[in-house]
Symmetry: C2
Subunit: 248 residues, 2 copies
């Protein structure tokens, strides 16, 4: 066992930094592309970046150079308002692309902050446009990714504009649940990586309201909450909250 290996070991690092062998390729930028097309993306990402909880991958005002694909970890987009408050504009999980807000002005419009230790793929944007210029299917796929972000944001706008607090929380939990399923995790049991305050900021509610409504959902037998650990007991119950006409 201590002798020289017979075969040269596979270069694991290379294997890992390449889209074609990434386990997230069904969710991430390569989604829907063929194997050959994905291989053409392999020149795109030559840097990974490890981030620790609380660190920013970019800050509002920074020069925009790259997009970031989440490999692992959980992130938020946020802006620090003049009065110091931290306004959250999104939560992001593996396979999602962050930083697209920076394209319009060549400066990032918000911070990208890690809520737990993680790793992102750095996608130099000029290079992405180069490859998209070559590979038409990538161009199209990238347009889809941006459009999806627009649709997602408009969904949040509708949530904020038309739902009451309970409905917002129900929608939030169901949305997280769906996104966890897509990543192979349990739909009904998960760990919130963000605080009540961050949830509230995102949903336009105060942290006390978030806490109270979690407690109420628990009393009603819809979920079980223990700090950041959530278990959904009755999906239909949460869905029913959404179905009823919104009031605001």
């Amino acid at each position: 066992m201590s002798s020289e290996p017979l075969l040269k070991p596979i270069n694991l690092h290379h294997l890992k930094t390449v889209c074609s062998s990434c386990s997230l390729r069904e969710l991430c930028l390569p989604m829907g592309l063929s194997e050959e097309e994905i291989e053409q993306l392999d020149t795109l990402v030559y840097t990974r970046k490890r981030v620790k909880r609380g660190e920013n991958i970019y800050r509002a005002g920074d020069d925009f150079n790259s997009l970031y694909a989440i490999r692992s970890g959980f992130f938020k987009s946020n802006v620090i308002l003049e009065d110091g408050r931290d306004q959250v504009t999104g939560f992001h999980m593996p396979g999602e692309i962050m930083g697209m807000d920076g394209i319009s002005t060549d400066r990032h419009a918000c911070n990208g902050t890690a809520l737990e230790d993680g790793e992102v793929c750095v996608i130099p944007f000029a290079r992405l446009e180069d490859v998209a210029h070559q590979v038409r299917s990538l161009q199209h796929q990238f347009h889809k990714v941006m459009s999806r972000e627009i649709v997602r944001d408009q969904g949040v706008m509708m949530l904020l504009g038309s739902m009451r607090a309970e409905e917002r929380l129900a929608a939030f939990l169901l949305n997280l649940s769906q996104r966890f399923v897509a990543r192979g995790y349990s739909p009904s049991e998960f760990h919130l990586r963000m605080t009540r305050e961050e949830i509230g900021s995102y949903l336009g509610l105060k942290l006390e309201t978030v806490s109270r409504i979690f407690s109420k959902f628990q009393e009603d037998g819809l979920i079980s909450v223990q700090q950041k650990h959530i278990r959904i007991l009755q999906v239909e119950g949460l869905e029913a909250l959404l179905g009823q006409q919104a009031h605001r």
Copy 2:
């Protein structure tokens, strides 16, 4: 005067349906491109569409084929909710591009509705991608347009998530004002094309609240309101409302 013209008349129709001679080219898709590059866009738009007030240029669920650049008129993006309520997700004026939400799923996610008679340039999306594939600067410009939409939506999310009613209205009026200026109209005097209910829907408020706050702004000497006619009397006053720390 009844004799044959000496010179063949200029084809006015053609002159008009082409980006390079469009008065909105500084605001619209061609923004920032050179004259030669803009000429390459001239094959892009071969259809204009007139719409009457209340008509939709597309509806949620329709197949997605084209983007629409507003030539004239005032539009809203909206979704009809299950309970019949009309949730507004955006207001759009000349030079802005509508329909980008459709790219992600090949179906429109919302309606594009005219708030007054107007005209849109139909941009077949497959063709746009073709031309973008040829003209790299257009590819980049289109990415900027999409990114701008993302930033704009996130701004609305922040407004809805962190501002109280008065602040939302103040921000709304200032935003309209800025967009009118960019189009050569008065910053301080304009006509609202939408109802109080539509404003409320967009801002997450009830129409009565919108009406009350307009009245209050008027009492405070910030604006003068007469039905849909608005005159901003003290921009600084409205701006001051935003500056103060948001409370919600």
